[in-house]
C-alpha cells in the first residue's frame, strides 16, 4: 500500500510537469499570435510504460515526447509561389501606372496627340495666309511645343527604365542577403537536429526568409535529410545549397559579353545583367547569364525585368530590348523618326522635285525652299545633329532625310533629342520654287504650296514598323494606338496583380488556418491544462492525506 501512495505522488508530480510544460507551450503560442512567420506549437504527449504488481497494471502517467510546429509544406510552397506571382505583377503595375500617366486622358495639355493636332492646326492657319507673321509664329511655337512634348515624354519613359534598372541592383542585394541568411540558418538547423532537437524557432525564421525571398524572386525548394533546404531557380541553378549561398551579381559588363555588342538603355546608359560568377577569386571572372531565366519567373526582380526589358547579347539598339517600357518608348520614338524623315522630306519638297528646278537630287546640299537654303533635317532636327548645308546628319549626302541617315548617325534615340529647327518665323518655307530656269529660284509671296506638302502628310496612312507589330495609320492615329497599347499593357498586369493578390490571400488563409494561432483555441486548451494541473495537485493532496492517515494509524 505504501508503494501505491508513493507511486501516486510520483505520477501526480510528473503530471504537474506535463501540464505546466503544456501551459508554457500555450503561452508561447499566445505570445506569437501576431507573428506571421510563426507556426503554432502542439505538445505531443504519450502514455508512459505501464507498471504494476501482482499482475495488475496501473499505468505510470504521461510524458511529453516533443513539441512540434504545425506546418503543411504543400500549402507553404503554394503560398510562396503566390507571393512571387503577386510581387511580379504588382511591381509591373506600379511602374506602368507611372508610365501611363504620361499618356493620361484627363488632360489634353502636354500630350503628344493633342500637340500634333495643334501643330497641324497651326499649319492650316498659316496656309490661309502664308505671309502672316503671327501665323508663322504660331507654327514655330506649336512646333517647339510638339518636339519638347515628345522628348519630354520619351525622357520620362527612359527615366522610369533607369529607375527600374537601379532598383534591380538593390533587389539583387536583398536576394543575396536573404540567401546568405537561409544558408546560415541551414547550418544552425542541421547542427541542432543532429543532436535530436527540433529547432522550431530556426525553422520559423527560415520560413520567414523564404517568404521574403519569394517576394523578390521565384524559386523551388527541396528539403534534405539533415533538415537543410536547397533553393534553386527553374534552370536548376542553386541560390542556396546546404550551408552555402551563391551570391548573384548585377553587372552591366559581365564576362560573357567579352567585347560583344549589348543594347543600351533608353537613356543611352547601360543595362545590368543578373549573373553568377563561378570564379570565387575574382581574378578571371567566369559569369553565367541568369537574366532571362529570372525574367521568365516571378518575384519583384522578374517584374522589374519584364518592365525594364531583357537585353540580348549581340544586339545594339535600345529598342531591341524586350520589355513593356521599351515597347511604349518605341511608339514615341517612331513618331519622332517619322517627323524627322517623312515630314522633313515633305518640307524640303524633294520628293516631287518642286523645290528646285532641274537636277534636284544633285543639288541637295543647296536645296532652297522659299529662297532659304535648307538643311537636310530642316524642320525637325535633333540636338547634336551638327545640322548644316553639307554633311551633318545627312551622312549619305543624298539630301534626303532618311532612316538610313539616322541609323548611320547611330544615336540611341532621336525622340529624346528632338528639336524644332526653326527659330525665325521668316525662315519658315511656305512656298515652292516657281522658276523654270535650272539653278535659279523664284518664289511667290504668299504661296503656301509647301505648307500643303506638309499638310498632305497629316492624313497619309503609313505602315509603321514597331518591332513585332506593324501598324498602318496616320501619325495621329499612331499616337492613339500608343495610348491603347499602354492601356492594354497596364490593364493586363493590373488584372494579373489583382488575381495574384487574391491567390495570396487565399494561400495565406490556408497556411494560417493550419499554422496560425487561434486565441480561443489556446484559451480552451489553457483551461484543459489548467484543470489537469489542479487535478494533479489535488491528487498529491489526496496522497498526502492518505499518508497522514497511515502515520496516525501507526501512533
Amino acid at each position: 500500500m505504501t508503494t501505491g501512495i508513493s507511486a501516486l505522488i510520483d505520477i501526480s508530480r510528473r503530471s504537474l510537469g506535463v501540464q505546466s510544460q503544456s501551459i508554457r507551450v500555450i503561452g508561447n503560442n499566445i505570445n506569437n499570435v501576431n507573428n506571421a512567420d510563426y507556426a503554432r506549437r502542439v505538445v505531443n504527449i504519450i502514455s508512459d510504460a505501464a507498471t504494476g504488481a501482482n499482475g495488475i497494471v496501473y499505468g505510470s502517467g504521461a510524458t511529453i515526447t516533443s513539441v512540434t510546429g504545425v506546418v503543411d509544406n504543400f500549402l507553404n510552397k503554394n503560398y510562396i509561389a503566390c507571393l512571387s506571382e503577386s510581387s511580379s505583377a504588382q511591381i509591373q503595375s506600379d511602374y506602368l501606372q507611372r508610365a501611363e500617366a504620361l499618356f493620361s486622358l484627363d488632360s489634353t495639355n502636354g500630350r503628344i496627340g493633342t500637340e500634333l493636332a495643334k501643330f497641324f492646326s497651326a499649319l492650316e492657319d498659316l496656309q490661309s495666309d502664308p505671309s502672316s507673321l503671327s501665323y508663322r509664329l504660331g507654327v514655330l511655337n506649336q512646333g517647339q511645343t510638339l518636339t519638347s512634348t515628345i522628348s519630354s515624354t520619351y525622357n520620362n519613359l527612359a527615366e522610369l527604365q533607369r529607375e527600374a534598372n537601379d532598383r534591380m541592383e538593390g533587389v539583387v542585394g536583398d536576394i543575396n542577403r536573404i540567401t546568405a541568411g537561409i544558408a546560415t540558418l541551414n547550418e544552425q538547423i542541421s547542427k541542432y537536429e543532429a543532436t535530436g532537437q527540433e529547432a522550431l524557432s530556426l525553422h520559423d525564421q527560415r520560413d520567414g526568409l523564404l517568404k521574403e525571398l519569394a517576394k523578390n524572386i521565384s524559386f523551388s525548394t527541396t528539403t534534405q535529410k539533415d533538415g537543410t533546404i536547397n533553393v534553386t531557380l527553374s534552370n536548376g541553378f542553386g541560390l542556396v545549397t546546404g550551408f552555402n549561398s551563391n551570391q548573384l551579381k548585377f553587372s552591366p559588363t559581365p564576362s560573357f559579353v567579352d567585347g560583344k555588342n549589348t543594347p543600351s538603355a533608353l537613356d543611352g546608359g547601360s543595362l545590368g545583367f543578373i549573373t553568377f560568377d563561378y570564379d570565387k577569386t575574382g581574378t578571371t571572372p567566369t559569369e553565367i547569364n541568369l537574366t532571362s531565366i529570372i525574367a521568365a519567373g516571378d518575384g519583384e526582380l522578374a517584374g522589374l525585368l519584364k518592365f525594364r526589358g531583357v537585353q540580348t547579347v549581340g544586339t545594339t539598339s535600345a529598342f531591341d530590348v524586350s520589355g513593356s517600357i521599351v515597347e511604349a518608348a518605341t511608339y514615341v520614338e517612331t513618331i519622332a523618326r517619322d517627323l524627322l524623315t517623312r515630314f522633313n522630306l515633305a518640307y524640303l519638297a524633294v520628293e516631287n522635285g518642286e523645290s528646285t528646278s532641274g537636277n534636284l537630287l544633285g543639288e541637295q546640299t543647296n536645296t532652297f525652299v522659299s529662297g532659304v537654303p535648307q538643311n537636310t533635317f530642316a524642320l525637325f532636327s535633333f540636338r547634336g545633329a551638327n545640322n548644316s548645308l553639307t554633311g551633318g546628319a545627312d551622312l549619305d549626302s543624298d539630301g534626303i532625310p532618311s532612316q538610313s541617315d539616322l541609323e548611320k548617325f547611330g544615336l540611341n534615340s532621336y525622340a529624346s533629342l528632338l528639336t524644332f529647327n526653326l527659330d525665325d518665323p521668316s525662315k519658315f518655307s511656305a512656298a515652292l520654287n516657281i522658276s523654270n530656269v535650272s539653278g535659279t529660284y523664284q518664289f511667290a509671296d504668299g504661296d503656301g504650296s509647301n505648307i500643303q506638302n506638309l499638310l498632305d502628310q497629316k492624313n497619309a496612312r503609313i505602315n509603321y514598323n514597331l518591332g513585332a507589330v506593324q501598324v498602318t495609320s496616320t501619325i495621329s492615329q499612331l499616337y492613339d494606338t500608343t495610348v491603347s497599347r499602354i492601356g492594354v499593357m497596364k490593364k493586363e498586369v493590373t488584372d494579373a496583380a489583382e488575381l495574384a493578390s487574391g491567390k495570396v490571400s487565399q494561400a495565406e488563409a490556408a497556411v494560417s488556418a493550419v499554422s496560425g494561432v487561434d486565441l480561443d483555441e489556446e484559451f480552451a486548451k489553457l483551461i484543459l491544462y489548467q484543470k489537469a494541473y489542479e487535478a494533479s495537485a489535488r491528487m498529491i493532496n489526496v496522497a498526502s492525506t492518505l499518508l497522514d492517515e497511515l502515520i496516525n494509524l501507526l501512533r
Binding site: E100, S104, L105, K491
Partner: protein, 333 residues
Amino acid sequence: MERISNLQRTNSLMEYLFDTKKQINRVNQEIASNYKVIYGSDAPGSAGMISSFQSKLERLDKHEQRITNALSLLDTQEKALEQTGDILVRASELTTQAASETLSVDQRKIIGEEILGLKTNLVNIINQQYVNSYLYGGGASSQPPVIRVENGYSEPSDTNDISARYTFANEPGYDITNMIYVSDTEQIRLNTPADEIFSSALNTLERLGRILKGYHVEPAAPAAPDGTGAAYTDAEYSQQTEDIRQCIDLLKDARVVSIENERTSIGVRTNQLIRSQDVIETLKVNIDTARSGVQDIDLYEAANTYTNLQTSLQALLQMGSQINTLSLMNFLE
C-alpha cells in the same frame, strides 16, 4: 473543420478595409476629374478612341475659330464691294449728267474732279488693310494691290491726278487665292485677286476722269489704258461726249459683271462657311457626346457608389472592432 486563426481574421479585415479605401480613393479621383476613364488601362478598348476624340475636338475648335475669322474677313470684303457699288452708281449718275451736250467743257471738268475723287475712294477701298494685311493682297498680302504711278500718262505733263495712273501689282503672289481649311480635308477660297474684281471699275473711273478733264485715253474702250492720250481739241467736243457715253456702259459692266458677281461669290462662300460652322457645331456635340459617354462619370452614380462605399467602410470598421473584442477570455471567470 477549418480553423481560423486570429492573424487570418485580422488580415481578412485589413484586406477588405484596404480594398474599400482604394475604391473610395478611386471614386474620389473620378469625381474630382469628372472622368471615369483617366488612364488607358481604365478602358483599354476605348482609350485610343478617347484620345482620337480629344484630338478631333481640338482640331474642330481650330476649324471653328478659323471659320469665324474667315466670316469676318468675307464680311469686310462684302462691305468693300457694297461701297464700290455705291461709287459706281454715283459715277453713273455723274456720267449721265456729263454726257449732256448742254454742259460746257469747264462744267464737265468739275464733274471730272468728282470722278477722280471717286477713283481715289475706290483705290482706298482696294488698298484697305484687314488685321495688318491688305484685304485684296492675295498671296502678297503685305503689298498694296494697287500702285499709283505718277505721270503714268504722257499728257498732261504735270504731276497730278489726271496724269497719274493706277496699276495692279503683278509681282509673284498677287494672283494667289488664299484657302482655309474648314475640315481636315475641305478648303474654301477666301479671296479673289484684286485685278479680277476691280480692274474694270478702276480703269473706267480713270478713263472717265481723264475724258471729263479733257484728255483722250488710248486705246479705245474696252481695252485697258496704255498711258497715252492727247487733249481733246475744241472740235472734238462731240467725240468727248461719245467717249463719256461709252463709259456709262463700262460702269454698268464693271458694277454688274465684276462687283455684283464677286458679291454673289462671297455670299456663296459665306453660306458655305456658315454651313461648315453648323456641321462643326454638330460634329463637336456628337463627338463630345460620344467621348463623354465613354469617358465621363455619371455624377449621380458616382455619388451613390461613394455613399455605398462609405457605408461599407463604416460597417467594416464596426465589425472589426467587434470581432476583436469577441474572445473566450471574456467568458472566463
